[in-house]
Symmetry: C2
Subunit: 197 residues, 2 copies
DNA sequence: GAGACAATAGACAGACCTGTCTGTTACTGT
DNA sequence: ACAGTAACAGACAGGTCTGTCTATTGTCTC
């Protein structure tokens, strides 16, 4: 016991733990090729870790998928809240979300929404479906709050439309290999916002 | 030879051919559970057909997936062109597309875009990805043409936004189990259309 | 130095998948 | 009546997948 660092996170200056290397490998391979296509063996090989370590740390592949998506979810939330803090008006905050989307979609190796993709590959009871639902609820609540702050009469209705643009931009950037969909979504969001205020 | 009906389609009054029963089973099972989850054995059992008949008719599972998606694609095109013929103005035609979407999303067993879902489960060289790209190009061209008819200055830009709403509504209806997303998309489309004309 | 502990490599079981192949049955046109 | 054809049932091969288990190595604390 004593003050030994927990094995689930890296020691302050040491090499990353097996758990973290597994998460990094999962993040890379699952996103690039899909949670179904990528098998356990490729994950552990890429992480340089024994199979028993994976099952010791996560218990099953499904739980590894959950941890992979949860980490993405936290990252996305952080990125959005950080960006929102840089703007004052609710209008600018809403529009800046689409700027983030554009930067995400321009990154090399972009393959669309990790949550949607993992859900589409899974059975309805899988962890991916749960995490996806959580992420969607968070995004919708975010837009609803911002739109309400902007003084829109019926915030739910406009927020739902902004979510449509958000989802649509995500899909279009991926399937059409065209990050400009985010800018189109931003322009549409501006029109809808102005029409509602 | 002579005037024998081709084995690929049913005789005028006879029972459906093995090929058609396979397509019907594929349409049902692939859409409901995913092209990866559903194996060959379940398809042929559901169709009441021998395995050799499947490989004789389609050659591989991937080609069965292609045929399944191509059929869906034709059905969707037909449904939209039929609906468009019932309206006069380009504006009404555009908006009616979202009415169709709402009816599709309200049907029991709706599970989102068959093309996207199959693509997300497949490797980039799979038939699903090709058919998906074709379907997207068709939809985009449809909107572009209608918007041009409506006299919009830059039809491509508005058409891209309508595609965003189309994709977004498809995703939202599925993931949030809420067909009203189509109505929200229709309302947003009306605002964008009016702002552009 | 000794024991505890975490991680290692890798074999293994059991299930599932695609695709091939053999042999049989039923129908259809001449 | 008979040849040709389509479909049938089902075994089989060869591969992949998840998850378990054994046995070994290295490291850290007392």
């Amino acid at each position: 016991m004593s003050t030994t660092a927990a094995p689930t996170s890296s020691a302050s200056a040491g090499a990353p733990s097996a758990r973290e290397r597994l998460l990094a490998a999962a993040d890379e391979l699952f996103y690039a090729e899909g949670v179904h296509t990528v098998g356990i063996d490729r994950i552990i090989e890429h992480a340089g870790v024994a199979k028993a370590s994976l099952y010791n740390a996560f218990g099953s592949k499904d739980e590894l998928v959950r941890a992979y998506l949860e980490r993405r979810r936290e990252r996305r939330k952080q990125r959005i809240t950080d960006e929102l803090a840089r703007h004052r008006s609710p209008r600018a905050k809403v529009l800046s979300v689409f700027d983030i989307l554009g930067r995400i979609g321009s990154a090399p190796g972009y393959r669309g929404c990790a949550f949607y993709n993992a859900s589409a590959e899974s059975t309805p009871d899988a962890a991916a479906v749960q995490v996806n639902a959580e992420q969607r609820a968070w995004t919708r609540a975010l837009f609803t709050g911002l739109v309400r702050e902007a003084g829109v009469r019926r915030p739910d209705a406009l927020a739902a439309q902004l979510v449509l643009l958000y989802d649509g931009a995500t899909a279009s950037m991926y399937l059409d290999h065209d990050p400009s969909a985010a800018a189109a979504a931003k322009a549409a969001a501006a029109v809808l916002l102005d029409a509602a205020t």
